[in-house]
Symmetry: C2
Subunit: 356 residues, 2 copies
């Protein structure tokens, strides 16, 4: 018997999907990008799916159900935007244990509906069933894009600029903050009151301890997909050569783009966009914020590469940061430290199987 | 706090999806049929999703992983055929607890791959993550159909014939058989050997007790989607007026078609197709096989209605049975017993929330 953790999530997926045949002429791209691509007519159809499991991806002690629903939908939209597409429809499957009331399920759904409303996506189906334990959420999202607009992970070329949006590691610092307060609270006297399972998060931690750190919580609990960036890039006439969303951490995503594009990369430590609340908390917790920015997951920012000739168009764009450039494969994948030292980029990130 | 069981699965879905807005012009049909329908160009795109949870939908003590994978894929294909479409792509999301080895996950995947190969469907993506407990499988399937070929649940008209394929209640009898043997075996001396969690089913029950009942097991463990019937109907020039697959039991599905088409129905007890192995086991277990045929789930046969004018074309078709006819709404929904008595059809079937 081989432990799954010996392969990790990506190793397992590679092994399971090795030499998958494609029989349908409508299948243009299967496993291996943010979304699959199908050709059903005028537009191409994108398809992505995400599963969230209680105890692994979220802890209901501090995640409000409405936020959870919102996030579960938005992370799927993010995958479609990361292909330079527009999300159009989702299906939602829920596994619910007996401890959930209808009101709680409605609360979860209200977050999903809000996300759909904001992003203009239709909820078109799903499956709802009982579960023995905990809450399971599985969402599949369709999107559309014109054939020549789709951006894959494999198009990065030598000398391309590497860009990232927003900031990195912030959602992870939000998670550490919530986790720290949960533990502190669990040790406090109020323990007996709050440990009823299935209670909503609002009551379980006091708000005072989060003062000045609200942005970290928002990034963890209610991330947004970067639809705005996709619109800006289109308006500026920039088509990225490769793109993906940052869900497992920058290091992991950089390695995906490099291996699929068969290139190397150089990324500069001092160019990584870091939020000051995240930096302050890292300091307070005695953590290296650069490590958190490289390996913390769930930022749902966009990582993309584009031609050096787009430099002039790129510079005026708000919230887009050039962090490095694509190199020949032989160079390897390096982070260039503040003193010029070259550090190998390895994916330590967000790997649920090895975290256990 | 309102218990979910007070509403049941369909009540909960109705409540959660009440007044869902549709913002995308490509969405033709959302929640409420076997699949959603989108218009992306030349063909229309169908989308359906199903979630299977360990302990609710399957018991790994007697369900081999390869069969489970096969079934998980096929039940989605069945939903697409039930719209008169052709399944084309699936995504597969898995939640896996630590007790699963890579070999076991590969075994599960080999069943999914086999189903894809047999039905000409491409596996185009998915999500694989750790789970705290048990196995979760969520599959979403896309399909295509020409706009004028799609069959919904709401098109049944007065005097239409009601037809069903194959036989009914057989998968349920297979489940009862497996459950009976599991209990018998759990009480026997071999108990200690077999209770390792995660063991495959082949070793846990002896094959001798299933002699002469193999077909029941096959129907439960390895159902097929009725692609053949869809092809036959097309060849015969019959387009059903309403159709769905029998996953929750005939009674439940008849009520869906009647309420969505705003009609009543009369179904004849002596016309229900019953398999002799299923009838024999029901006799042995002192059960009413008609009740099992009406309420047993997971047959994945097709239930459809078609115009009386198609009668001549319908009769020569193998494995298609006329079981009754559609009536005015005022008549109600009745089973006509062998002595002519009218029995109200109610859905007792396969409701995971009320079974708990």
């Amino acid at each position: 018997m081989t432990q799954i953790s010996s392969l990790g999530e990506f190793g397992l997926i590679r092994r399971l999907t090795d030499k998958l045949p494609q029989q349908q002429p409508s299948t243009l791209r299967g496993v291996g990008d943010d979304a699959a691509v199908m050709n059903f007519g005028d537009n191409q159809v994108l398809m992505t799916t995400d599963m969230l499991l209680e105890g692994i991806h979220f802890n209901l002690e501090y995640v409000p159900l409405k936020h959870l629903g919102y996030k579960a939908a938005v992370v799927n939209f993010s995958d479609i935007y990361a292909m330079n597409g527009t999300p159009t429809q989702i299906t939602v499957s829920l596994g619910l244990s007996q401890r959930f009331s209808i009101e709680q399920v409605e609360e979860l759904y209200s977050g999903i509906r809000l996300a759909c409303e904001r992003y203009g996506v239709d909820l078109v189906g799903g499956d709802t069933c009982a579960s023995m334990t905990g809450l399971t959420i599985s969402i599949t999202c369709l999107g559309i894009a014109k054939a020549d607009e789709i951006v894959y992970r494999n198009g990065a070329k030598e000398n391309d600029l590497i860009c990232v949006t927003g900031n990195l590691g912030t959602a992870y610092m939000g998670l550490l903050l919530l986790e720290r307060e949960r533990q502190a609270w669990a040790q406090s006297d109020s323990k007996a009151v709050g440990q009823q399972s299935g209670q909503t998060a609002e009551r379980s931690v006091s708000e005072a301890v989060f003062e000045g750190k609200e942005y970290l919580l928002e990034r963890q609990l209610k991330p947004e997909a970067r639809r705005d960036i996709i619109a800006k890039l289109r308006k500026a006439g920039i088509k990225p050569t490769a793109m993906m969303d940052v869900s497992d951490g920058l290091s992991s995503e950089l390695l995906h783009i490099c291996s699929q594009s068969n290139v190397g990369c150089a990324v500069y430590e001092d160019k990584l966009p870091i939020d000051y609340q995240a930096a302050a908390l890292a300091e307070e917790m005695n953590l290296n914020i650069v490590t958190c920015a490289l390996n913390g997951g769930e930022d749902y920012e966009l990582l993309f590469t584009c031609s050096l000739s787009d430099y002039e168009k790129l510079v005026p764009l708000d919230d887009v940061y050039i962090i490095g450039h694509i190199t020949k494969t032989e160079y390897g994948k390096h982070l260039i430290g503040r003193n010029g030292e070259e550090i190998n980029i390895i994916a330590q990130g967000w790997n649920a199987f090895t975290q256990e």
